[in-house]
């Protein structure tokens, strides 16, 4: 196993430390510059490490955990593979991602989720946790074999028909009940299908002016309201994907106050961008749920800060160029997000002074790991903890260009933007996966 030292790094942005790693765990944390190894041993100051990472002035965080990632494999390897998606995740500071089930074939059997999981193990850059479909083929008609997926090698705990809403209230109730047997959670893509037929953008004054069919906020809020009541009724765990409206925040807040076991996520793009961008008719801004109003963005930010929204999740959705290089209505929905999530979160919550790094770690690592029931991820930085870590350098910048992406796709709405700070190093299971901003291969360095 690799031995490693990260020198001069500031856990959670606090006092500078030297952090030693061996056998995949944090072996020692000592004030920066103090002799390494056991203080009792005179020889310790000469201790040699396989890997030494300089991180003076940098912030050390637990590796990020994404609960909502589209890796596209199997089926759409032209846009992303588990290998390229893993590289993108590592580069973005993640050590664990949850691969959504809307692949071809759909991840609705033990066979498919095990295949996805094994490909993740082979890529060996992040933990790839498959999400299982709730219904067979995402068709919303019949429950998939949730138990088989849960007891497979992939140990699935998160189930979602994401991309589509589990609209049938009876099926949703049954899914919520059924996953209790293995402590699973149903992650709902809250979108009433009838209220959003042909929908192209947020419904409001702008959609009326642009002549684009509207995606009304109520289509999300009504499903969330129904689902929290179902979760309460059967006392199960509900997770709400990509909350996008101020009204949804109010529903989730009400449900939490009532003691309902609901968690919720917001995406970086819904925390930063507004529907005004759609006026360009550039499909790079086409996403589901759609970009909303400024008021919604502000409500989402407050909800992330006060914990009503538990986590930030990327909804990383790669698409090949031709699926965006067209007119709005013909374009695919979605944007990539793994490699820009932390820069955006840092800008919105840290630079603004609204959160500290410990709080942001709750939203991007600790809580998503807990919702997904992922062992060895989202751990507090302390001796003995698994060494899944990210080093953030606030002195650098992240300049978004098509060439920077490790993702196979480049459908990012942030092209040509510059964010303060950059992911510098990433450690996955005690060995470096990113060094000085570059993804290093799965093998041990040196």
């Amino acid at each position: 196993m690799t031995s490693m030292i990260i020198r001069g790094v500031q856990p959670y942005g606090e006092a500078a430390q030297d952090v030693e790693i061996s056998d995949g765990v944090i072996a020692r944390i000592s004030p920066a510059g103090s002799p390494t190894g056991s203080p009792a041993s005179a020889a310790a100051s000469q201790k040699v490490f396989d890997v030494e990472l300089d991180a003076a002035g940098c912030v050390l965080l637990p590796g990020l955990v994404d609960l909502h990632t589209h890796l596209r494999e199997p089926g759409r390897e032209d846009s992303e593979t588990i290998a390229t998606g893993s590289r993108a995740a590592a580069k973005g500071g993640f050590t664990c991602v949850h691969a959504m089930a809307n692949t071809a074939p759909v991840a609705d059997t033990a066979g498919v989720v095990e295949q996805v999981w094994r490909r993740g193990v082979d890529a060996d850059l992040v933990d790839v946790r498959p999400v299982g479909a709730v219904t067979v083929g995402l068709q919303g008609a019949q429950l998939a074999e949730l138990g088989a997926m849960a007891s497979s090698a992939a140990q699935v705990r998160v189930f979602s028909d994401d991309g589509l809403c589990v609209h049938d209230p009876l099926l949703m109730r049954r899914a919520l009940e059924y996953v209790k047997a293995f402590d699973g959670v149903v992650a709902q893509h809250a979108q009433d299908p009838r209220l959003t037929e042909g929908a192209q953008m947020n419904e409001g004054e702008l959609s009326g002016r642009l002549g684009l069919a509207g995606w009304p906020a109520v289509a999300e809020e009504a499903i969330i309201a129904r689902d929290v009541l179902l979760a309460e009724h059967v006392d199960s765990r509900l997770h709400v994907c990509h909350v996008s409206t101020a009204g949804s925040v109010e529903v989730v807040r009400w449900a939490k106050a009532r003691g309902i076991r609901v968690t919720a996520e917001a995406t970086p793009h819904h925390l930063l961008l507004t529907e005004e961008l759609v006026a360009s008719f550039d499909p790079i801004y086409k996403v589901n749920p759609p970009l909303r109003r400024e008021e919604d963005v502000m409500a989402l930010r407050e909800a992330v800060i006060d914990g009503t929204i538990d986590i930030i999740a990327t909804d990383h959705a790669p698409h090949p160029r031709e699926d965006k290089d067209c007119e709005w209505a013909a374009a695919a929905m979605g944007m990539i997000g793994l490699e820009t999530a932390l820069p955006i979160a840092a800008q919105v919550f840290i630079e603004s002074g609204r959160m500290d790094w410990r709080q942001l770690c709750e939203r991007m690592s600790v809580t998503p790991a807990r919702i997904g029931r992922v062992a060895d991820q989202g751990a507090v930085i302390e001796v003995g903890a698994p060494a899944n870590l990210v080093v953030w350098d606030p002195a650098q910048t992240t300049v978004v260009t098509p060439a920077m992406f490790e993702s196979k796709s480049a459908n990012s709405p942030y092209l040509d933007r510059t964010f303060a700070g950059a992911v510098r190093h990433v450690v996955f299971r005690g060995r470096p996966t990113v060094v000085d901003g570059q993804v290093v291969s799965g093998e041990v360095a040196s």
């Binding site: 009326g208 642009l210 209505a329």
Partner: protein, 318 residues
């Protein structure tokens, strides 16, 4: 002068809109004097790119371009085989290779002309001939021109002219462009429709809104009836075509509520018996055929001004 493209009625200032209307008047005078063809755009290539079937608009643009002596190429790309996006880009690149000076585009997707103009695929001018449920600026210009002839003797703007637009505003590119342009020209616009066929946020548009047609007819100088598609019933926008025409159709009884010199307009094609009864459609005050004739002249003016014809004004009078 106009901008490079004509994508939205909102692109036009009052002065630009008046320039187009005045140019239309001049061109109409020339073409009426049996000089059917002007040499203005000789050697220029104008492409009609129609992804949606609309024979009347296509012919109107073709005729306009030909009367200005442009070389006209028509691409009719309607149908499902090219409904997928990449074809817009591929077609655009083809047109660019052919050296199109202007592309007149009709497309079922809102914003397709904007995309064509801004995605970097082509260099030429883009003229929106109707995009999805977004806009149809030359229709609004021909409507304004027609209104000006009937209410302002063909001069100046439309200050104080009261225009009622009736029907499926939600899905109407004609209504959107007209509201924008008529407001720019000072007209007083009232939209009339059932609440289901009005867009969210219409209360903030620069116009009035009513659900009751009878109430607004007596004060109107012009009533513009929008085409209603019977298939809207599938979206539950209204209970039946019968109920729609009873509540929002223009028939003889309603026409009698209008002031004697008020006109009836329709962008065509009309659904006789649905939004407009046959006796209204054929009444003297219905100016539907005149709208079609004015459409050719307005489109000539747009092409002339967009393609820089105005910088060599001498050409037009030769």
């Amino acid at each position: 002068m106009l901008g490079k493209h004509l994508l939205s009625a909102a692109d036009l200032t009052r002065d630009q809109a008046l320039l187009i209307l005045d140019t239309t008047s001049e061109l109409a005078a020339v073409t009426d004097r049996s000089v059917k063809k002007l040499p203005t755009l000789r050697g220029r290539t104008v492409v009609n790119l129609f992804f949606e079937d609309s024979t009347r608009t296509r012919l109107s643009f073709e005729l306009a371009a030909k009367r200005l002596s442009a070389d006209v190429i028509t691409f009719s790309a309607k149908g499902s085989s090219v409904s997928k996006g990449e074809s817009l880009k591929d077609t655009a690149l083809t047109l660019e290779a052919m050296g199109a000076d202007a592309v007149i585009i009709r497309h079922g997707a809102s914003g397709a002309p904007e995309r064509l103009a801004t995605a970097g695929w082509i260099d030429g001018a883009v003229l929106n001939a109707g995009d999805g449920t977004h806009e149809h600026p030359t229709q609004a210009l021909l409507d304004a021109y027609t209104l000006r002839r009937h209410t302002r003797d063909g001069q100046g703007d439309l200050s104080g002219v009261r225009v009622v637009i009736v029907g499926d505003v939600l899905h109407s590119r004609v209504a959107r462009s007209n509201v924008l342009l008529l407001q720019t020209l000072g007209a007083d616009v009232t939209l009339v429709a059932p609440p289901t066929l009005l867009p969210v946020g219409v209360e903030n548009w620069p116009c009035k809104v009513s659900y009751h047609l009878d109430d607004v007819l007596p004060d109107a100088d012009a009533v513009m009836m929008l085409r209603v598609q019977a298939e809207r019933m599938a979206g539950a926008y209204f209970p039946s075509t019968l109920e729609y025409s009873r509540m929002y159709g223009l028939d003889a009884r309603r026409m009698a509520l209008m002031s004697p010199d008020a006109i009836v307009m329709h962008p065509g094609p009309m659904n006789r018996g649905l939004e407009i009864s046959a006796d209204v459609a054929d009444a003297d005050r219905a100016v539907v055929v005149e709208q079609v004739a004015n459409g050719v002249n307005v489109r000539m003016a747009c092409l002339y001004l967009l393609l820089g014809g105005a910088s060599s004004e001498g050409d037009g009078s030769q």
